[in-house]
């Protein structure tokens, strides 16, 4: 993927929105990759959490919001507990979800109507409650 950088976009409105919702300072990130190295679901992510943080800092809204990284985050806080710069990365991932879910077009990540037969009976409610809070607007 070819990405065009533009200094006028660095730390733009999108970045500030993510920083506001997450309460984190993204300038602190020095791209060590510890978050991605310890992430239990990194194997399924299109890009690692540290790369999404970089996209966000550079103001690349489309690149940051179209990867599956933050949707796959399970909020297990392994990255948060290992970040040498003290960034709560799980909060940044949640903020990215919120940026998408709070838009007017309400692009939900999951559709309840598409659950396979028997899914609602089989899965415990604890998974639905937390899942719906993370994936639905």
């Amino acid at each position: 993927m070819k990405i065009e950088l533009n200094r006028n976009r660095v730390h733009n409105e999108f970045t500030k929105k993510v920083e506001l919702i997450s309460g984190q300072n993204l300038f602190a990130c020095y791209q060590c990759g510890n978050c991605t190295a310890g992430c239990p679901v990194a194997f399924a992510m299109e890009v690692g959490p540290h790369e999404v943080i970089r996209y966000t800092l550079l103001g690349l809204e489309e690149e940051a919001l179209t990867v599956n990284t933050f949707w796959l985050c399970a909020s297990c806080l392994q990255c948060t507990s290992r970040c040498p710069k003290g960034i709560d990365i799980a909060r940044v991932m949640d903020a990215l979800r919120m940026v998408v879910l709070r838009k007017k077009d309400r692009k939900d990540y999951i559709q309840i109507s598409e659950f396979p037969d028997g899914f609602l009976e089989r899965v415990p409610q604890i998974a639905f409650i937390s899942g719906f809070r993370k994936f639905l607007s």
């Binding site: 506001l20 919702i21 997450s22 309460g23 239990p40 679901v41 194997f43 399924a44 949707w71 796959l72 399970a74 909020s75 297990c76 806080l77 392994q78 948060t80 507990s81 709560d88 799980a90 909060r91 991932m93 949640d94 903020a95 919120m98 990540y109 999951i110 089989r122 899965v123 415990p124 409610q125 604890i126 998974a127 639905f128 409650i129 937390s130 899942g131 719906f132 809070r133 993370k134 994936f135």
Partner: protein
């Protein structure tokens, strides 16, 4: 002594075996779990978006009502424990959020409850030495892997449960029952959590890695504290078997079920019919039932 107890949604349905066995074991250990009146769901996620006050209301209401009943609140589910403990700490330390939340729930709560997980009650309040004295059927030779998952431990500075990378509290509990605690590198890795709703195949893969790691370290049984972990690593074993032909099912138990066995409770009262992989053949082989 009695402890105020918040069961949480899943312990009344898919994890009845966790709830019931904990109550039965408590009685044998000389304390009662006093269930909170009128409790609601805790929300099952601590809100990570700093402006999400709504998600703080259910746990705050639970806390405020619990404070009217006592000073220590205990839970069994690791997610409830995490949500309630983090919310309690936030109310304690953040005056602005405390005021907002109290205005919403129309109760006045200052964050002065002590939140203890059932395992912490056993260790700090009862003492593992006392637990050891009540063991009637020692689990000698049973190789058990303590699976912490994430929510008991993280965030480390807020939960204060045990060491963030190498906790031992759960293993000590297993050893107090006479079992051999198996150390394995995936004991604090995430099972995929609510991804079992968003991307089920990802959660299945996480669970495979956890179980594979436990088996590789010669575990015969994996022990958990969380109904969601249990769903992912026990009930998804059929899916794991489909995607990994080398995988052999392994029993997954709640820690209180194992305690029930060790304290000599009738195995038929321990709710093993709710476990996906039947642990009874293993117990028979080990001479425990």
């Amino acid at each position: 002594m009695d402890y105020l107890y918040f069961p949480g949604c899943t312990l009344y349905t898919k994890a009845k075996n966790l709830d019931q066995t904990a109550r039965d074991c408590s009685r044998l250990l000389g304390f009662e779990l006093k269930e909170l009146p009128n409790w609601t769901c805790c929300g099952a996620t601590f809100p990570l978006a700093t402006d999400n006050i709504m998600a703080l209301l259910p746990p705050s209401r639970i806390l405020a009502r619990a404070r009217q009943e006592g000073t220590i609140l205990t839970t069994l589910c690791a997610i409830c424990f995490n949500v309630i403990k983090r919310t309690n700490r936030l109310i304690q330390n953040d005056g602005e959020k405390r005021e907002k939340v109290n205005n919403f729930i129309e109760l006045n709560y200052e964050g002065d409850l002590k939140i203890l997980h059932y395992l912490e009650i056993l260790k700090q309040e009862i003492g593992y030495s006392q637990v050891k004295e009540r063991i009637r059927r020692p689990l000698t030779g049973l190789k058990a892997a303590a699976y912490y998952g994430c929510m008991l431990l993280r965030p480390f500075d807020e939960m204060g449960f045990d060491d963030k990378e190498r906790p031992t509290l759960f293993e000590e509990f297993l050893e107090s029952m006479g079992a051999v605690a198996v150390d394995f590198p995936y004991k604090i890795e995430c099972c995929g959590s609510f991804q079992s709703v968003g991307s089920p195949e990802v959660a299945t893969e996480c669970s495979y890695k956890i179980l594979g790691s436990a088996v590789k370290n010669r575990a015969e049984v994996v022990v958990t504290t969380c109904p969601l972990c249990t769903f992912n690593i026990d009930h998804k074993q059929a899916e794991i078997k489909q995607s990994h032909l080398d995988f052999n099912p392994i029993p997954v138990l709640y820690f209180t079920q194992l305690l029930g066995i060790a304290m000599g409770l009738d195995y038929q009262s321990l709710g093993f019919e709710q476990n996906y992989v039947d642990p009874l053949p293993l117990f028979k082989k080990k001479g425990l039932i």
